[in-house]
Every structure is written in C-alpha cells, then in structure tokens.
C-alpha cells in the first residue's frame, strides 16, 4: 500500500463470563484505550462498530453503543462480520484521506448472553439445511476435521497435539478467557466427543469479550505512539456457501485471502518472511488446515510440525503463540484479537508468550460456516 496506516493502540478483555453488560464493557474498553493514548473522543475521526444484531438480540444494535464508545453525534457506521473486516473498513476510511484516525469497536457476550452456536446455525440455508436438521456449526466443523485428517492419513491424535499447544499457550496468556493451568494431552484426549473426531477441548469455548483498536494515518500515528504497527497488506475471499459443493479438506478462502494480502505486502515466501501467525482456528484441525492454505505449513507435514515444535512459541514459524481462539472466541472480536495479539508480539510486549523474532506477522479472521470467508492482514514494524 502506498499510504501507510498504523495500529496505534488497542484494549481488549475476554472471559467465559465477564460479569458485565454490553454498554459497560464497551465503555470500559474504549475509555481505557483513550486514557492509555492520552486522547479524548474528539480525537477520533470515525467510529466503526462491529457487533451482530442477531447475537445482541436487537436490530441496529450499534446505536445503543454510540454513547459508551464515544461515538455520540460522530461519524459512525457498522460492520456485522468478523472484526478484521471492520479493520479493513477502518483502514479504507483513513486511506480515503477523509479521516486521520478510526476506532474499531468490537464485542459480543457469547459466553453469557446468548449461545455462540446460533450465529453459524442461522447462516445455514433456511430452505434446505435448517429443515433437514443435520448440519450445525459443530457437525460441519467435524466433517471438515475428518476430511482434513483423511487427506493426509493423520490420526485423531494430531488434534490433541494441536489443542495442547494452543491451550498451553492460552494458559500463559492473561488476555485469554480459557486458561487451563497444567493442561495435558490426556485431559484433551479424554474430553467428551461432540461430533467425531472433535472433542470438547478441540473446540473454542463460549466466550464474552471485546476488543477496541485505534488506527491512524502515518503522520498521526507517529504523534500518538512510539511503536506504531503498520498494516502492510489486506486480502479477503469468500468460498462457496454450500458445504456439499466445497472441498472441506482445504480452504480456498484462506489461500486466496493470504495470496492477496501477501501480494499487497510484497511477501513472496511466507515461510521465510513471516515471523509468526495468529490464525482464527475455532477448532483444532483448522489451525494446520488454514496455515497450509496460507502457505505457512508445508502440505502434509502438519503432524511432524506439531510433534517437532516447529509451530510452538520457540519454533521455526510460531502459530497462535497467544493460544488462538481455543483460548477464547468472542464472535466479531475474535479476528481483531488476533491482530491485537500480533501487535503485542511486534512491540515485544507479549510477556511469557513472546516469540524471539517479531518483525512481520500475519493475522487471519473468519466468518461463516467452516471459514467460508477469510480475511488476512499482514502487519509489520
């Protein structure tokens, strides 16, 4: 991209139960972010609120959040998909030259307010899939998991290895909602089957959470913070809607989105040029599946990569050093949280989860059944 846009700051929170309300969560997070940056709401040019009417239980649900996020009487609009779509939109608003700063405000109380499974359940075809009552978010993910395992002849044990790495990373990360201290492979392999081959601890937990992020033009970013993180490239793609028409053993949406984002960022060899990746893998198998699709893992080498520690925090190409969505998945915020975790790493502020070399990173977000849509953002110092 010719004009530079940076992430200058963020504030996020997640828990299985945040013991809060939507208004209070959005106020606490944005007020906290403004205080961190030493700004007031009038310093924000445009607001992008990213929530879901269906999950909020009221239409045009952003209007209720205007006062609490500081958008009262300001230029404000809404994105109703994953937070990385809202980041894309905020970036475009700044690139238009009209605004120097844009606040992305995402949240969902899908831990306590409403079941997270409704979101995908009600994206299914109302005139066929829903009356047939066989597909839902979990059964679809299980079909995708089996398809991926079968493609390379992997055993179900791979799912335990992936979940172990993610859940152990999440346990060390204070930003995560599900932190299972001392989690073991036996504990994962002994958790109940939901839909085979997926067990409870292979799947994301129902999570409350929010993430607020401020983007700025190059000039303004340098005034607002010492360590701006630059948006180097963005790409998106949407796969076929119908599961039966798709090859569930891979992800066209992730591969195309990554190709587009990396093309914009000038990255030719992702395995060499990227230092780590934060991926919206809502289920254990999606982590290598999406990583392969995006060119981060060699196809067919996932079992070796997880066994040898190549994907671990101190590995060749760390994947989800934050723990990823297995540690928490507030819908709408989830992808933006991947970007926020990447920013922490790129600033060298990821604490116990810090990777050694962190200059260029990839963040991935998804929406729809089995990552029908993917958004990829390349970030760099």
């Amino acid at each position: 991209m010719d004009n530079k846009v940076a992430i200058v700051g963020f504030n996020m929170a997640s828990a299985l139960d945040l013991e809060t309300t939507r208004e209070r969560l959005s106020f606490d997070l944005t007020r906290g972010l403004f205080d961190d940056l030493g700004i007031e709401r009038d310093d924000v040019g445009t607001f992008i609120i990213c929530t879901n009417d269906f999950l909020d239980g009221r239409t045009i649900s952003n209007v209720f959040l205007d006062p609490s996020v500081g958008a009262y009487m300001k230029d404000e609009s809404k994105v109703e998909m994953d937070g990385l779509n809202a980041l894309t939109y905020a970036c475009m608003r700044i690139l238009s030259g009209q605004y120097e700063t844009a606040l992305v405000a995402t949240l969902a109380l899908t831990g306590t307010q409403v079941s997270p499974y409704l979101h995908i359940g009600y994206t299914l075809d109302a005139s066929y899939d829903r009356p047939i009552k066989l597909l839902n978010e979990l059964s679809a993910a299980a079909l995708e998991a089996r398809s991926y395992l079968a493609k390379y002849g992997y055993s179900e044990e791979l799912l335990d290895d992936i979940a172990l790495q993610d859940l152990a990373n999440a346990a060390r990360n204070p930003n995560q909602a599900r932190r299972l201290e001392g989690v073991s492979k036996d504990q994962i392999a002994g958790s109940a089957y939901l839909y085979e081959p997926l067990r409870e601890l292979h799947c994301y937990p129902a999570t409350d959470g929010g993430c607020m992020m401020l983007l700025a033009s190059e000039k303004r970013a340098k005034e607002l913070c010492d360590k701006p993180v630059w948006i180097k490239g963005i790409g998106r793609s949407t796969d076929n809607y119908y599961l039966g028409d798709r090859d569930l053993s891979g992800s066209i949406s992730a591969s195309q989105a990554a190709e587009r984002a990396m093309g914009m960022a000038g990255i030719k060899d992702p395995r060499k040029e990227l230092d780590f990746a934060e991926i919206s893998s809502l289920f254990a198998h999606q982590e290598p599946l999406l990583a392969e699709a995006m060119g981060l893992l060699e196809p067919g080498k996932a079992a070796e990569a997880y066994k040898s520690g190549d994907t671990a925090i101190d590995g060749k190409l760390p994947i989800n050093p934050s723990g990823g969505p297995l540690g928490g998945h507030p819908i709408c915020s989830s992808g933006l949280m991947r970007a926020a975790e990447a920013v922490l790493q790129l600033r060298g502020e990821a604490g116990k989860n810090q990777v050694e070399k962190a200059d260029v990173a990839l963040a991935h977000g998804q929406d729809g059944v089995c990552a029908q849509q993917s958004v990829v953002v390349v970030l760099g110092t």
Partner: protein, 152 residues
Amino acid sequence: MEDIKETFYHTVAPLDFGYNYRVGTYLQRYIDALKDKKILGAKCPQCGKVVVPPRKYCGACNKVREEYVELSQEGTLENYTVGHITLEKGQVNQAESPYIVGMIKLGGADNLLVGKVAGVSPQEVKTGMRLKAVWKDQTEGEYSDLDHFEPV
C-alpha cells in the same frame, strides 16, 4: 478499570418469531420429485456440473442452471461424523444414542448431499461405503420422504 463484582438482574428477551421462506421453483421441483421417490439435481450449461439439491444459479459461472437431471439413488459415503450431541436453538444436549451424519456423492452428481446414515453402526461406518436411499413407505412430498441412506 474498576473491578466491581455485581450480581446482575437478568432479564430474558426472547426473539420468537417465524419467517416464511419460499423455497423457490428449483427446490419445489426437488420436493415434488421426492414424492415420486426420485432425486433431482440441476446442471449448469457452462461448466456442466450437477448439484443436488438443485439450485438455480451457478456461482462459478454466474449462469442459470437450466436442466434438471434425475440422479442415481446409490452413492458413495465421502465424509461423515458421528454425533454424540444435538444442537437445537444453540443448546447442546446429549444425544440419546450416537448417530451418523453423512456426505454422500450420488451417481450423476458433482457435489455431496448431506443425509442421515443408518443401518450401519457408528463403529463400522467408513468413508467409501456404497449407500442407497431409503424412502418412507408413504411419501408426502416433503424433505423427510427421503428418510435416510443405508449400505447397499
């Protein structure tokens, strides 16, 4: 940020209403054919691919699928999952007994049809199995006329 632990009063705000979706002519033809114990797909004039159930627009070609094709009642189990839970209105409940959700490639189709698989135990089900459609004795012109698939 203040760390106040409060007991919140919870109100329940149900969203309880129905939508009347028209299934459209293509799915209507599919449903009508089920009454005659036939399975229909639709073929794209450009890429030639046949999808089941029939849907009017081909996403890849941006063309109208104009031709209905009767498909074989036998096919191959390409993918499946054994369900241990049910998920109704977002709520997870333990299933009464494990059940099989299959994705089946019918003869003449280029995509996979999602269907219930029975007549084989969850321990013995395998991808690659040949399956056949099992119909209700009395068909009514409903999705449920095609009751399940079982091994040939």
